[in-house]
Amino acid sequence: MYELKTLRIGLAIYTALFIGFLYGPFIVMGILSFQNGPDGGPQFPIIEWSTFWYQHVLGFAPPSRVAPLPIGEALTRSLTLAFATMVVSTVLGTLTAQAFRTKFKGSGVVFYLVVLGMMVPGVLLGLGMALVADQMGVDRNWWSTAFVLHVVYTYPFAFLVMLAIFNRFDKSIEEAAWALGVPPGKTFRKVTFPIIFPGVLSAMLFALTLSYDEFPRTLFTGGSDVTMPIAIYGTFAVEIHPNLFAFGVLTTLFSFALLTVYGILMGLTVRRARASGIQEDI
């Protein structure tokens, strides 16, 4: 027993160090985002603390030799693309998972075909899609060739999430609705969907984040109108400035806000489910 206690403490310390390792670059990034501008570079030491780079990202800073990030356009594109990807991949994922609830011939092939979408490295798919588009004479755009690849990437995640949800789903509730003469469409809307909603929400969140940050697939297929990750990648070739770090801090805060909304929505569904459960008991 004593042995186990030492092990527990040892592992706890290790885990703390591990989380420190994960956050290290993140913290350094946070510190350096307050670097003096526009002359301070993305390295130590801090010349003087300032919020210059935040102003720079938001477009308030006076013009300097550092080109501003194309926040307005690129970010709008990225968010639009992520939203469209989220909707389409969640619908496809739910449909496919619904089909998988009953056994059918060839389910193994379909399963691996779908899962392949998340396993093939983005750079390969981007290359293949660019070749296809080139040969067919189709223009490459973020809303066409890049969009379909984003769905190829996020749809398997949505599918797996929904499959896991359906696996823990009591089929007899649906059967009861059918037995009472409710048509399948209405059963799905009124019975199935409310139950699977938390899963749908997770699938949507997965798709949104993956697509928003997606970059290797977009690189060859996004065309000349850049999305946010491509804009950031563009700065790799030139000099990097702390404005990227300020942008990183801001987007992380934004994601926090998004996740809080998700958490609240989840909490509400759980509470509503509980409330209706109590009603049924009465």
């Binding site: 989380i19 994960l22 496809l92 490295p121 750079v123 290359l127 749809y155």
Partner: protein, 302 residues
């Protein structure tokens, strides 16, 4: 599959009740959109890549005359073949370290933390850094590892070293450090998930029968966590093998992986050659994933 359905629909008598048609072909109707999407935008591009790898490359264009010249160039060139070996070496190193560094954390979260809320909090804490853009996270390693970087400042401050370590940045080491940190969470997650599912009474029974902590780990905990390890290994392998951004950002373009070669070749319009590298990368991936799936049946673990 879609055309199949159409022909069935047309062949059926018009008077047939709609519900029975719906019931009979329900799967296919539900599957069709997803399958069609994947065939058109996943299978076709990959086949196209294989096909184009046999095309003739001229300076700025490709023509569909079949040749194996691009393949010969790849295997004859020290640079390109070297990139294949380097990719494999870095992949194995990163895979090994993500496992070594990630497993103890997963063990702690999955086995030693009994409180579900605390488990979730710890896992979420591991995931939070992911909400920063991948590319910015990669770039953040530069001020960490540089000659005047955070690591050197801290080590010098603690008096562990006198001179700053210079091999940290713009070397293969920096690429490996960066990749391990970025991908280790994909190892921790699945392993912690499998460990948390282990029935605790199993371990108590073993302990009652006098098994030591090491024996319990070796014969119960580790084998039961193996599916998690495999899933984690698949995640890490898929991402590391297709990598190019980390390598170019942290090595100062000195370390070229297969992914980097594809990007450079596409940049100079050498499509056929990029396709060859792509096919080789696909082949490597296929072997790795098939081997890993041999160990565990992914469908059964869900």
């Amino acid at each position: 599959m879609a055309t199949n359905n159409d022909s069935v629909a047309m062949g059926a008598p018009v008077a047939a009740p709609q519900e029975s048609f719906w019931a009979r072909n329900r799967h296919y109707l539900l599957l069709a959109p997803g399958v069609v999407w994947m065939v058109l935008f996943l299978v076709v591009p990959l086949l196209m890549m294989v096909y184009v790898s046999f095309w003739t490359q001229t300076t700025f264009a490709i023509s569909s005359d079949l040749t194996i010249k691009s393949w010969q160039t790849f295997f004859a060139s020290e640079t390109y073949f070297g990139a294949l070996l380097r990719t494999l070496r870095i992949w194995l190193t990163v895979l090994f370290f993500t496992f070594l560094i990630g497993y103890p954390t997963a063990l702690f979260i999955g086995q030693f933390v009994r409180n579900k809320t605390l488990q979730t909090v710890l896992l979420v804490a591991c995931v939070i850094p992911f909400w920063t853009s991948f590319l910015i996270r990669v770039l953040a390693w530069r001020p960490m590892l540089g000659k005047e970087g955070a690591v050197n400042i801290v080590l010098q401050g603690l008096g562990i070293i006198d001179q700053p370590i210079e091999v940290l940045l713009f070397t293969e080491l920096s690429v490996i450090i960066g990749m391990v940190q970025i991908y280790v969470v994909f190892m921790v997650g699945p392993i912690a998930f499998m460990l948390a599912r282990i029935d605790h009474s199993l371990i108590e029974a073993a302990r009652d029968l006098g098994a030591s902590a090491w024996t319990i780990f070796r014969t119960i905990i580790f084998p039961l966590s193996l599916p998690g390890v495999v899933v984690g290994a698949i995640f890490v392998s898929v991402m590391v093998l297709g990598e190019f951004a980390t390598a170019s950002a942290l090595s100062g373009r000195k370390v070229n992986l297969l992914g980097n070669i594809i990007v450079t070749q596409v940049g100079s319009l050498k499509w056929a050659f990029a396709a060859v590298v792509g096919v080789i990368l696909t082949a490597v991936m296929a072997v790795v994933i098939t081997a890993l799936l041999r160990v565990v049946n992914l469908r059964k673990e869900l």
